[in-house]
Amino acid sequence: MSGHSTYEPKNGFSRWLDARLPVGRLVWDSFVDYPTPRNLNYWWTFGGILSLCLAVQLITGIVLAMHYTPSAATAFNSVEHIMRDVNYGWLLRYMHANGASMFFIAVYIHMLRGVYYGSYKSPREVLWILGCVIYLLMMATAFMGYVLPWGQMSFHGAVVITNLLGAFPVVGDAITTLLWGGFAVDEPTLKRFFSLHYLLPFMIAGVVILHVWALHVVGQNNPTGVEPKSKADTLPFTPYATVKDGFAMSLFVILFATFVFYLPDALGHADNYIPANPLVTPSHIVPEWYFLPFYAILRAIPDKLMGVLAMFGAIACIFALPWLDTSKVKSMRYRPQARLYFFIFLVACVILGFCGAKLPDDQVIPGLETFQLLDSKLNSWVWLSRVATLYYFAYFLLVMPLLGLFEKPLPTPETISSPVLGGDKKD
């Protein structure tokens, strides 16, 4: 979309259409002739993989909705009807359920790639924020989708998460009542969650169009973080990027298929095969794996409202990233110190994920007796999650702003195609 269009209509019809609605030109300029930096590595294939994930979720979801009934009395059985009696229903449902996890694996890699290579920095701030909006919509969609089978974990997960919003002063109760459609998670909640679960993916698709549009205005970042300066720095999207994306997609689908066909329930929870029963609370309510780090942050804070604010703050930090990072150098390839803090950040996120899945007061190191510190023993998941939460926020609010001011980055190459000596090492 940026620069001069090289599209040439090949026949009478395409010339006629091009003068009236230049969709052919749009596709040509966006996905064929579009210049991509020649040094993109495999971390850059996840954008394409994510569009595949969205397509899979939409298609399987639309067919599943033909067989599912959003009613507290029949939802659970209708899912089992899909699993047992609908032709290839088991395939659709396992693709949809595991597809959500695949979607999040891909989006986390895509986001972390953006952080590592500084893809959020000027002029890509709007591109980054649109991506964050997509991520936020994905979380809402995934949460509501998990409620639809109306199993024990669906129901009690919905109770826990919707109750969080009640922590907000003044408006909290009104919000939860509106969300529930009553005074508890029940029939109206399920119905509105189903409706929204069907709506939000199309909103995601809309924001994806904006995301791709913004991308094609500013162009892709690349592993050096140096903007392309001449034609020698870029290659046309087709065939170079399409074939590389295609190969990466195919490998990703192998991972996807491994879960769908051989480990279909590995990422789920056994309790969700028990029909929802408001009178019996599962011994341990855990969200899906992709929410666990945020769940750990929530539980790390003893105060409910502060916990909720910390959880939303953790997401807000990602939005604010373009203005938190003060470094002029985009890629961490030339920022050895930033790289170190980044990998500690990764470890902190994984630790938070573990903490979110455990009972807060259980021991991290079994058998090690430690002293009581405030509300729990030091050797407990809740204290580990506090340490990791502290690092999570310190990374965004201290490391990001200060490191850019004090670090000494390595020299960056002049152009992509002529990298400085020793600067273009693979990582």
Binding site: R38, N39, L40, Y42, W43, N77, E80, M83, R84, W90, L91, Y94, S101, I105, Y108, I109, L112, R113, Y116, L235, P239, Y240, V243, K244, G246, F247, S250, L251, V253, I254, L255, A257, T258, V260, F261, Y262, P264, D265, A266, L267, H269, A270, Y273, I274, S283, H284, V286, W289, L292, L346, C349, V350, G353, F354, A357, K358, L359, D362, S417, D427
Partner: protein, 269 residues
């Protein structure tokens, strides 16, 4: 590197996530089921024995409301017969073994003429009848807790069929410090150790038609396998399709990689 870390994290969460804290309770015994692994299939003879255990023992208290008699004759099921499959233009409803098994069981119905409540022999289209007319009756007959439906039991508990096989063999004298109220039993695999269900199995309680020795272990493992089939009746179709899909994807990825190398040949990057 990035991707490896993320995948490792996902894999670790997968292992660590569901590990619930049920201290003092033993982990399920390892059972070598035929349906484990990417090429695992149900052992049809074992499913048939398991059905007999379910029908003669479990069904006295537990419903299995999501399974119909016709399912018994579906591909991958205990009484599947290729003579009565899509290949011959017939269905499991035509399978005489399934018809006979259904007819052995009485199901409630409404008389089409008079509207009176009646019972009649089941047909393959009927779902397994429940032992109690309603939940209140099920609770009243079982010390206040309704016996859970078994349709999905093998997927609804951590440990799945191995947990079920272990639980059925796990009854014994209570561990030190555990006191049992009347109607309670001790089971070393049940979370908390105290279970309402009395030991359901006993040697020779079920006579197997194939001559297998009717030990508690045999009965427990057979019924656990049957419950796995009941919870996941399309498991064989899933694994078979997965194999074809994997072969295709690996070849397709190879082809794409070759194309990638060819397209990028001579381009520095």
């Amino acid at each position: 590197m990035l991707r490896k870390v993320t995948l490792l994290a996902a894999a670790l969460l997968l292992v660590g996530g569901p590990a619930l804290a049920n201290s003092g309770v033993e982990k399920p015994m390892a059972v070598d089921f035929s349906f484990e692994g990417p090429f695992g299939r149900f052992d049809q003879a074992q499913l048939q024995r398991g059905y007999k255990v379910y029908r003669e023992v479990c069904a006295a208290c537990h419903s299995m409301s999501m399974v119909a008699f016709r399912n018994l004759g579906d591909p991958g099921g205990p009484f599947f017969d290729p003579k009565y499959s899509a290949a011959t233009g017939q269905t499991s409803n035509d399978n005489p073994v399934v018809k006979a098994l259904a007819a052995d069981t009485q199901v409630p119905d409404i008389d089409g003429e008079t509207g009176d409540a009646i019972t009649r022999p089941a047909t393959p289209a009927d779902y397994f009848p429940s032992p109690f007319p309603n939940v209140i009756a099920a609770k009243a007959g079982n010390g206040g807790i309704a016996p859970p439906d078994l349709s999905l039991m093998a997927k609804a508990r951590e440990g799945g069929p191995e947990y079920i096989a272990s639980l059925l063999q796990g009854f014994g004298p209570p561990a030190h410090g555990v006191t049992l109220a009347p109607g309670q039993h001790y089971n070393r695999y049940f979370p908390g150790g105290v279970i309402g269900m009395a030991p359901p199995l006993a040697p020779d309680k079920v006579t197997f038609d194939d001559g297998s020795k009717s030990t508690v272990k045999q009965q427990a493992e057979d019924v656990a396998a049957f419950l796995m089939w009941a919870a996941e009746p399309h498991m064989e179709a899933r694994k078979q399709m997965g194999f074809s899909v994997m072969i295709f994807l690996i070849l397709f990825s190879g082809l794409l990689y070759a194309s990638y190398r060819r397209v990028w040949r001579g381009e520095s990057h």
